[in-house]
């Protein structure tokens, strides 16, 4: 007898994202993909329920961003209201442990704040649940075991079975999020509950500075034909002859740099 597929309780953890160019608050891309996956699951397994969970401070900007998720067709979002700079992990863990869903879906990495990508792991450790990262699809849920596809580099997929409850994290391999509609987003409710704020001690000690762009190796193309130019453009930048200088005086360092620039033809 084939075991009956039954509906699952899915909690999607969502964060306030940050647009890469303008820095405006928005629904985070990976979290929105996670919600899209959950909504697909809801369609696939009748009787499933998707809930949204966010821990953080409430503000006009963050509320607009969170409503971006609600515009994908949900009626409410649970907001664990915390002061700025609080640690989200204990609050989330406590909330999830109180009424455990079968699946927790989250983006792999936040777009603002630390963005360390550690939250799913820390949460899994606290709750003692298994974690699958790089989720591409949930194929079926049977008898408390989910069969999922994990995305590997270069389009490969790995089929895994995971015991529920479990935490699944998604990245760019998950299906793209649907459009967020203004009407449902405006109507939906933010159910805010205050939780004990545990200040993030470690974060408070950190110094935050805007990230600098990593230097990119220049590619100097001396191509005569279009074909060669195309090949050069498509090729990966390769180093090869780099060297690491340690414990040198500023003069020696400067000389080495000057020498390199002359070799590369930047200086003549």
């Amino acid at each position: 007898m084939r075991p009956e597929q039954q509906g699952v309780e899915v909690a999607v953890l969502v964060s306030v994202g940050r647009h890469p160019i303008t820095g405006r608050a928005r629904r985070a891309d990976q979290d929105a993909r996670g919600l899209e996956l959950a909504l697909g699951l809801e369609r696939q397994l009748s009787g499933s329920r998707v809930s949204l969970l966010h821990a953080g401070p409430r503000g006009e900007e963050s509320e607009a961003a969170l409503r971006g998720y609600l515009g994908m067709g949900l009626e409410s979002l649970t907001l664990l209201e915390q002061a700025e700079g609080s640690d989200a992990i204990p609050a989330l863990a406590e909330h999830l442990a109180a009424a455990p869903p079968q699946l927790v879906i989250t983006g792999a990495r936040a777009e603002r704040g630390e963005g360390s990508g550690l939250l799913p792991y820390a949460l899994a450790e606290r709750l003692g649940w298994p974690l699958v990262n790089g989720l591409a699809a949930v194929e079926k849920v049977e008898n408390g075991v989910a069969t999922v596809l994990q995305a590997l580099p270069r389009g490969q997929r790995r089929r895994l079975k995971v015991r529920l409850p479990a935490i699944l994290s998604v990245d760019g391999a998950a299906p793209a999020a649907r459009q967020s509609a203004f009407g449902p987003a405006r109507r939906a409710e933010l159910e805010a509950t205050s939780v004990a704020a545990e200040p993030d001690q470690e974060l408070a000690q950190w110094q935050l500075a805007p990230a600098r762009k990593r230097p990119k190796r220049l590619k100097i193309v001396k191509a005569a034909s279009a074909r060669e130019r195309f090949k050069a453009a498509a090729a990966k930048a390769e180093g090869g002859s780099g060297q690491v200088l340690t414990d040198v005086t500023p003069e020696q360092g400067a000389e080495a740099i000057l020498k390199l620039l002359e070799e590369e033809g930047v200086l003549r």
């Binding site: 459009q179 203004f182 220049l218 193309v221 001396k222 453009a233």
Partner: protein, 650 residues
């Protein structure tokens, strides 16, 4: 016998017509309320009908005369018939007048019959094919029964069989012309049309005015419906307008999407709305269908959805997304029905409630929200194209005679050439101008036409707040879409500006003697009217005057001026990209080819992009600003020296 029968017949038909009218009015009143002055509208109706409507009908002289004879004859005959045969006032001149009126109507109906012998594809068939016969039955029947009344024939002429036949003909005529007028026959157009003209939602259009800006949604009221989901979400006078359609198909003949084989036919869309307001299926529709969509598979009801989330309802979403909002159908409609308003109303629901803008729509809207431009470019790079031009910024100068609105073309390398040319022209004419630079945002045109009223209003309000900080006399822009939105749609949100298209402004500068041109040496030139400059804003002359000043004699395309064919770039159509059998810009470049012109002058970044995207085109595409800049008689620029070829760095 007829003397006793006729009053009964006439008053029975009138009574039934009144009941039908009451039922029809109830159908329209399912719509949402809309404040229009009722009595004033009714008082203005005859003039609107005789002047404004016939101005449009008069573009086809034969049909116009036919309509004057038939409709004029009918109205006169109907009134006189009630007096003569209903109340028995046969003495004196009334009977003779009735004879004249019915004879005129009969002559008109002969022309209607001639038209229906080999009707063009745009005309609907079905019940419309019997209309000339019904017109003849009415006019001939009334004519014959009046002959004895005026004494041309003896009272007891013919036998009772003849009287019975005559009575049957009159019953047929009365049935179609009086009973059918309110119960849904072809003559419904007269009843609904007259009231539609009286209660039109854009009363400014009558008397030579222009009203083209979309109407804003009320977003402050959380209970207000976002757009139109069901037919009853239209305002009652919109429903009335749909019901007024005569199915003449002039809209179908000019619709670029229909011609391209995309699944849109404005006439069918309006008929579908009529099906929706009365409830039922579209199986009875007897005109050209939406290309690729058979008739009879869609059905709707006043409270049912127009577009289903899944499956089929009244209309498919891709029909609504095929529209380029070029307004050719509205311009051509003799009933002055507002197709574009209805389409955008329905799109608003699809975007704001369903969250279902097709293809690149969602991405473009997200970009507009996050970066204030549809391409998702860094807003800080809006002025990069002008790095060497040293443009005066409003933030520095605070006031200027002219505010140059760049539009999103500032991010497009092709349009940057136009903008640079325009700057050169303004400098040559020594115009005191400034730009907003990075403070400028998208005008909201695309967002609004994709149905995202929320993003439109957000962009508009922020632009209005920015503009309020500076003093300027007028805005000049090379983008007719910005021109239209700033000039016609910001007013409702609190921004009143005097806006000029660059062609208008250049024409003014030339007339003021501030520009001088070298004689034109190029080949033959045609001009493509952008929809948002021409039909939306009525500017047909200025671009042609500029071209004339350049010494260019424009070889007009067959479809130019108010009949110009759209380039396919409006209304977000390139973004939603609904497949068809042909491409709209290809058809337009074929129009250009037919003139034999080597160059097509345009005045819109969208048109430039669409027409330049045509493969194997016979003509070059140049913006008017570029032509003017090239012809300027001024000091030659020194920067054009030959530069050594640099090594390419990626």
């Amino acid at each position: 016998m007829l003397e006793t029968l006729l009053p009964i017949l006439i008053f029975a038909a009138l009574g039934l017509a009144v009941i039908g009218a009451w039922r029809r009015v109830r159908l329209w009143r399912q719509g949402r309320p809309s404040a229009v002055p009722l009595l004033k509208g009714l008082a203005a109706m005859p003039r609107r009908y005789l002047v404004d409507l016939h101005h449009v009908v008069g573009r086809d002289k034969v049909m116009s005369n036919t309509h004057v004879a038939t409709a004029g004859g009918f109205v006169a005959a109907a009134v006189l018939m009630i007096l003569v045969h209903g109340f028995g006032l046969a003495q004196g001149i009334l009977g003779w007048l009735l004879l004249a009126a019915s004879a005129t109507m009969f002559v008109g109906s002969l022309f209607v019959a001639k038209r229906r012998r080999n009707p063009p594809a745009r005309l609907s068939r079905g019940p419309w094919m019997r209309l000339p016969k019904s017109l003849m039955a009415f006019s001939l029947g009334v004519f014959l029964i009046t002959l004895p009344t005026v004494g041309v024939l003896p009272e007891d002429f013919g036998s009772w069989i003849l009287a019975l036949v005559l009575a049957a003909v009159v019953v047929w005529g009365l049935g179609e012309m009086v009973f059918g007028m309110t119960w849904g026959g072809p003559m419904k157009h007269a009843f609904a049309g007259a009231l539609h003209l009286a209660f039109h939602r854009r009363a400014e259009r009558f008397g030579g005015g222009r009203s083209t800006g979309l109407k804003a949604l009320n977003l402050d009221d959380p209970d207000a419906k976002l757009g139109v989901e069901t037919p009853s979400d239209f305002t009652w006078n919109q429903l009335l307008g749909f019901d007024a359609c005569v199915q003449c198909g002039r809209c179908e003949a000019v619709c670029p999407a229909f011609a391209a084989g995309q699944p849109l036919n404005p006439k069918k869309l309006i008929q579908d709305m009529v099906v929706g307001l009365a409830g039922g299926s579209d199986a009875a529709y007897a005109g050209s269908p939406y290309p690729g969509k058979p008739v009879g598979e869609h059905h709707g009801s006043p409270q049912g959805p127009i577009v289903a989330r899944e499956g089929k309802a009244l209309v498919d979403a891709e029909t609504l997304w095929s529209c380029t909002t070029c307004r050719a159908c509205v311009e051509e409609c003799p009933m002055m029905i507002e197709h574009v308003d209805a389409i955008v109303d329905m799109r608003r629901h699809l975007t704001l409630e369903h969250g279902n803008t097709p293809n690149k729509g969602a991405e473009v809207l997200d970009n507009l929200i996050a970066t204030d431009n549809p391409g998702g470019f860094d807003p800080g790079s809006r002025l990069h194209w002008a790095a060497d031009l040293n443009l005066p910024l409003m933030a520095d100068v605070k006031q200027a005679e002219v505010l140059l609105w760049l539009g999103d073309g500032a991010f497009d390398m092709r349009n940057q050439r136009t903008l640079r040319s325009l700057v050169k022209v303004l400098r040559a004419a020594e115009v005191e101008f400034a730009v907003l630079g990075t403070e400028e945002r998208d005008s909201g045109d695309v967002a609004r036409r994709l149905g995202d009223e929320a993003t439109f209003q957000s962009l508009a309000k922020r632009n209005i707040a920015t503009l309020a900080r500076y003093r300027f006399q007028r805005i000049v822009t090379c983008d007719p879409h910005s021109f239209h939105v700033l000039g016609n749609e910001y007013g409702e949100l609190g921004g009143q500006y005097e806006v000029r298209h660059h062609s208008t402004f250049i024409a003014e500068l030339y007339d003021a003697g501030r520009l001088a041109f070298a004689p034109w040496k190029g080949g033959s030139v045609t001009y493509h009217d952008p929809c948002y400059l021409g039909r939306y804003n009525g500017e047909y002359e200025a671009p042609r005057n500029v071209l004339k000043a350049l010494g260019i004699e424009v070889k007009e395309m067959e479809r130019s001026g108010f009949r110009s064919r759209c380039c396919g770039g409006g209304g977000g159509a390139p973004i939603t990209d609904i497949p068809g059998e042909r491409r709209i810009p290809d058809m337009r470049m074929n129009d250009v080819r037919e003139t034999g012109a080597e160059l097509v002058a345009v005045g819109c970044p969208q048109c430039t992009a669409m027409l330049e995207g045509v493969v194997d085109a016979s003509a070059e595409v140049r913006d008017i600003a570029e032509l003017v800049a090239d012809a300027l008689v001024a000091r030659p620029a020194a920067g054009a020296t030959h530069r050594p070829q640099a090594e390419e760095v990626i």
